[in-house]
Amino acid sequence: MAGETHIAIELKELTIGYRKGNYRLKILENLDAELHKGELVCLVGENGVGKSTLLRTISGVQPPLSGDVLIADRSLRNITTLELAKTISLVLTDRIYAGNLSVKELVALGRYPYTNWLGNLRKEDQQKIDWALEITGTQYLEDQLISELSDGQFQKTLIARALAQDSDMIILDEPTAHLDLVNKIIILKLLKDLASNTGKSILMATHELELSLQIADFIWMTYKNDKMVTGTPEDLIINGSFNKMINHEAILFDDLHGKFRIHNKTDKLCSLSGDKSVYFLTQNALNRKGWSTTDKVSEISINIRKNEKEFIWQVRKNNLEKEAHSIKDMLDILNS
């Protein structure tokens, strides 16, 4: 998967906002970003900065003011509602006006774009529903009414509904709001596993900065009255984008090594040495991509240097040595 540039969502000089007659209220301007297939991207930014508006624009609910959104290389303007329904599914914070709907009925609604006029479920629909319930761990709830669910169970059910919709992309608006820490981690872990195991592209607006550092492949960071910045979480820490957004840099770094760290399954080994100041960040990125690190000699090794201006990652692989100037470059070299 890595190294490939399969772009699921691309923003091209996108300006979003609202129009009323001739008046245009711009919320965010000149956004350029890419979301690759199988990646989990967190969209962060303070309240009111326009995260939800951006998600609404990407999911086709409201038209862009200018620029374009490309979904799998096609302009959003040329995609019909039904086609879009088969490409993007949503998990929102909207109230659901049917407490009497059972979990299974709610998840089955995800099959809406595929069923006939009466919504009858064929065998294939049934299988997708069962799969969605299983992968989110909600089978045991299937006959319960959604009014009886806890917030965590309800959120998983909503994700199951989005999965049943069988789309390549899932867009979520603050899926972990109102949840306790454990449930937050369960949901985020579920999303991360979905992205890496099923190849779905996931875009999620969230306020969970510390947690997104651990699970996001990329972060889209929005600012009021400033350009959106994108990059791996670590690159954004290194280039100061995080500090620019939150004024408590100490909190960020403390939480990076906090006890709620998600355990990443690693099956590849490399040696890591060098400058201690970005050692842990490099290790974090490697762990996320399935690498465990050692300080003993190994076939693949990474050494971190620092010159007056920047950090340099020296990657030695197959007796070839390459230099990377960001974590992203380093990961690309490792995966090439």
Binding site: A85, D94, R95, L118
Partner: protein, 346 residues
């Protein structure tokens, strides 16, 4: 469909048959049951008066009750789902106010200009029906035009309520300038009546209600999607504006036709969807739909039986009975289910 559900449907169908028979059997004139049965299966009985009462009055009234109960129940369900509001009913869009205005104009203005409807007999009843229809259609057209302009359902709900208030105000002004006897005639119309519908009128009434009911059943998949809210519904490929228009037209046809023939029958439209939801514990329209039709018909037949007060000469206004009898039922169901508000939203 589960066994339990099929069982309940069979039970309700049985109840419907029994109540229909009871409804036809009971009334101010006592008719032995064998005679009623004989008449219903097409035999002629020696007492022509009885035969007339059964075929020309009681049978059309029972059919009307069934159509009114199921039609208003379904239009209430459609409105509650469209507006995601438990207080919505068939008349929130101002349909009945429009019909009232039409009737008020016909009765009050008509009398003022010298052609009293009361003297016109059968023709007068058609004039009432036509003026009610015209009023309802007029309001419907305005609401549809507005719905094309307004993007969200909540605004539409408020606009509908405003239309209702405005039309009621015009009716009040008309009443203010009218004679007591015409106000009386108008008031009687607002009490609602199931008994005034003739076979001739049923030929129009039955097909409109049945076809619209069938048409709205075809919307049940879309209605289920709407339960999740406009954003989710759109993201699953539902054309919101289109669906909203279809729902409004179906509701207007049902509520408008019923009001035209029977007057503004209150309460049933709001209560029946709630009663059905509470009894069957579901929000799934594919189940709710047939259940609302059955429960609506049953409730209306019961109300009509009560209204006749067996053995007495007069009948109570049907509007009074539906509320007096229905309100305690809804209160009981709501109190019994402690988390009622949750059954409507999560």
């Amino acid at each position: 469909m589960s066994n339990r559900l099929s069982g309940i449907i069979l039970l309700l169908l049985g109840l419907l048959v029994i109540l229909t028979t009871m409804n036809i059997s009971l009334g101010s004139v006592y008719i032995p049951f064998q005679k009623i049965f004989a008449t219903l299966i097409g035999q002629s009985i020696e007492n022509e008066g009885w035969q007339n009462i059964i075929l020309q009055f009681r049978l059309p009234k029972a059919i009307t009750a069934i159509l009114v109960g199921s039609g208003l129940g379904i239009s209430g369900l459609l409105m509650q789902t469209l507006f995601r509001n438990p207080l919505a009913g068939p008349f929130v869009l101002g349909i009945s106010s429009g019909a009232s205005l039409g009737v008020a104009l016909a009765i009050l203005a008509g009398m003022t200009f010298g052609f009293g409807l009361t003297q016109m007999g059968i023709g007068g009843s058609w004039i009432l029906t036509i003026s009610a229809s015209l009023g309802a259609i007029l309001v419907l057209l305005v609401v549809v035009l507005v719905s094309l302009k307004v993007q969200d359902s909540m605004s539409l709900l408020i606009i509908g309520l405003m239309f209702g208030s405005a039309t009621s105000a015009i009716v009040t002004v008309l009443q203010f300038f009218s004679k007591a006897e015409s106000i009386q005639a108008y008031l009687v119309w607002t009490f609602g009546s199931l008994g005034g519908v003739t076979w001739q009128e049923l030929q129009v009434f039955i097909p409109i209600v049945l076809i619209t009911l069938f048409g709205s059943f075809l919307l049940s998949k879309k209605l289920n999607a709407l339960l999740l809210g406009d954003n989710y519904a759109r993201s699953m490929g539902l054309n919101i504006n289109n669906t909203r228009l279809l729902i409004i037209i179906a509701t207007a046809l049902l509520a408008g036709t019923i009001t035209a023939f029977c007057g503004p029958i209150a309460f049933v439209g709001i209560a029946i969807p709630h009663i059905t939801r509470l009894i069957f514990n579901t929000s799934n329209h594919k189940i709710l739909f047939p259940m609302v039709v059955l429960c609506g018909a049953i409730l209306m037949l019961i109300c009509d039986i009560i209204a006749q007060i067996p053995g007495r000469e007069y009948t109570l206004p049907i509007n009074a009975v539906t509320s007096v009898f229905g309100a305690p039922l809804v209160i009981w169901l709501v109190v019994r289910r402690k988390n009622f508000s949750k059954t409507f939203a999560k």
